[in-house]
C-alpha cells in the first residue's frame, strides 16, 4: 500500500502554494479511517518531499477521522468498523474510497445511496504559519 506517496505530493504542493514562502509552524492532517491510510508511510513520504522542496514545517500532527455513513433512503446512520472488512475490499477502498458504494449497503434498508458524513480520506485540517519572519 505505498501509493500514499502520490497523495503526500498533493499535500506538499498544497502547503507550498498556501505558504507562499512563509514558514509553517504546524500542520494538522486528518486521516479518514475509511481509506486506511498508512500513517507511517504517509509521514515518511511527506517529510521526504517537503525536504526535497526545502519546505520546513515545525510539526506535523495526524488525527483519525471516524467513519460515519448516513443512508439517504431511510436516514439510518452507522459507523462501520474497517477492521472487520475483508482485506481485498479494504484495499479497493484504500485506493478509491468511492469503491465503498460497491461493497457497503445500509444495514437497515439495503440502500447503497448513503452519504459519507465523515471519514472519507485525507484532508488538511489546520495549517498555522509563522507570520513573524522567514
Amino acid at each position: 500500500m505505498v501509493h500514499e506517496w502520490a497523495l503526500a505530493e498533493a499535500i506538499a504542493e498544497y502547503v507550498e502554494q498556501q505558504a507562499k514562502g512563509r514558514p509553517v509552524k504546524k500542520l494538522v492532517i486528518s486521516l479518514g479511517v475509511l481509506q486506511s491510510i498508512d500513517r507511517e508511510i504517509l509521514d515518511f513520504a511527506l517529510k521526504n518531499i517537503l525536504e526535497d522542496r526545502n519546505l520546513r514545517i515545525g510539526s506535523i500532527e495526524y488525527v483519525d477521522e471516524e467513519v460515519v455513513l448516513r443512508c439517504k433512503r431511510c436516514g439510518y446512520e452507522w459507523k462501520p468498523s474497517m477492521d472487520e472488512v475483508d482485506e481485498s475490499v479494504r484495499e479497493a477502498i484504500h485506493f478509491v474510497p468511492e469503491a465503498v458504494y460497491s461493497y457497503f449497503k445500509c444495514p437497515r434498508c439495503g440502500s447503497r445511496d448513503f452519504e459519507i458524513v465523515s471519514g472519507r480520506g485525507i484532508s488538511i485540517k489546520e495549517m498555522i504559519f509563522d507570520e513573524s519572519g522567514k
Partner: protein
C-alpha cells in the same frame, strides 16, 4: 470548488505531463459507440507501437474491460509512488472496475467527482502518445470534470449516429465545447452508411472523421481481441486513428 482548493487538483497536471494527447471520446447520447471506439482506438494505437493509455470514466457503468475481454478484478496496478496502470494488450489501462469488480457502482455526482480526482491524482501514466478516455453519456459530473479541470489538455473526439435523438444531443454538446473554446479533434458518424452528419461537422466547423457502417456481427466479437482485430469495424478504427495521428 475553487481551483486550488483541493490538494489533489494540484498534482493532476504533473501526472499528465508526459501525455502528449488526451482524447476523451464523448457524446451526450448513450449507445452511439463511445466505449467501442475509445477502446479500439487505444488497441489500434498499441498495435501501431504507439504509447497509449485507456481510462474508463464511465464509473457507474464501466465497460471497456468487457470489450477488452478481461476480468477487471484479476488485474492490479503496480504501486510505486502512486499507481502505475497495468498493461493490457499493450495499453496502459485504468478503470474503477479494477477495484469494484462486477459489483454495482451507484455513485452520485459528488462521489463521481471525488473518484475522478483520486484516480487522476494517484495514477502515473508516464510517457504516452495518446490517452483515450471512455466517457459516460449525459452532460454531468463526469464530462464537466474533464472540461473544468483539464480545459487546455483535452482534445475531445465526438461520436454520434444519424438518429434524430443523437443529432440534437450532439449539437448541444458541441455548443458547450465551442463556447468554452475547447479543441475538438473531430466528429465520427457511427452506425451509418450515409454521411448525414457531415452537415453537422460543417455547421460547427469541425473535422468529419467519416462514417462507420453498422456491422451486424460486432456484438458477437466483443471481448475477443483476435476477432475484433480482423473485423471490418477495426479497419475503420485504424482509418480514424490515422486521421487523428497525421493531422
Amino acid at each position: 470548488m475553487n481551483p486550488g482548493s483541493d490538494p489533489r487538483l494540484l498534482v493532476i497536471p504533473q501526472r499528465l505531463s508526459g501525455v502528449k494527447h488526451i482524447i476523451p471520446v464523448m457524446s451526450s447520447k448513450g449507445g452511439v459507440g463511445k466505449t467501442l471506439l475509445s477502446t479500439l482506438l487505444a488497441l489500434a494505437g498499441a498495435d501501431k507501437k504507439l504509447k497509449v493509455g485507456l481510462l474508463d470514466l464511465d464509473f457507474t457503468n464501466p465497460s471497456t474491460h468487457i470489450v477488452l475481454g478481461i476480468d477487471p478484478s484479476s488485474i492490479q496496478p503496480v504501486e510505486e509512488k502512486g499507481v502505475i496502470p497495468p498493461i493490457i494488450h499493450g495499453i496502459k489501462y485504468m478503470t474503477l472496475a479494477m477495484y469494484t469488480g462486477e459489483n454495482p457502482t451507484p455513485l452520485r455526482g459528488n462521489a463521481i467527482n471525488d473518484a475522478f480526482l483520486e484516480i487522476l491524482a494517484i495514477t502515473r501514466w508516464g510517457e504516452l502518445d495518446y490517452l483515450f478516455i471512455d466517457t459516460p453519456p449525459g452532460l454531468s459530473d463526469a464530462q464537466l470534470n474533464l472540461l473544468t479541470y483539464l480545459p487546455s489538455r483535452i482534445e475531445p473526439l465526438i461520436v454520434a449516429t444519424p438518429s434524430p435523438l443523437a443529432i440534437i444531443s450532439v449539437e448541444k454538446l458541441l455548443r458547450v465545447l465551442i463556447e468554452g473554446k475547447y479543441r475538438i479533434i473531430g466528429l465520427v458518424e457511427n452506425m451509418s452508411n450515409n454521411r448525414k452528419l457531415l452537415m453537422i461537422a460543417q455547421k460547427y466547423n469541425i473535422r468529419y472523421l467519416g462514417p462507420i457502417p453498422y456491422f451486424k456481427e460486432i456484438d458477437n466479437l466483443i471481448g475477443n481481441l483476435e476477432a475484433l482485430r480482423s473485423s471490418q469495424f477495426y479497419g475503420k478504427i485504424i482509418d480514424i486513428l490515422e486521421k487523428i495521428i497525421y493531422v
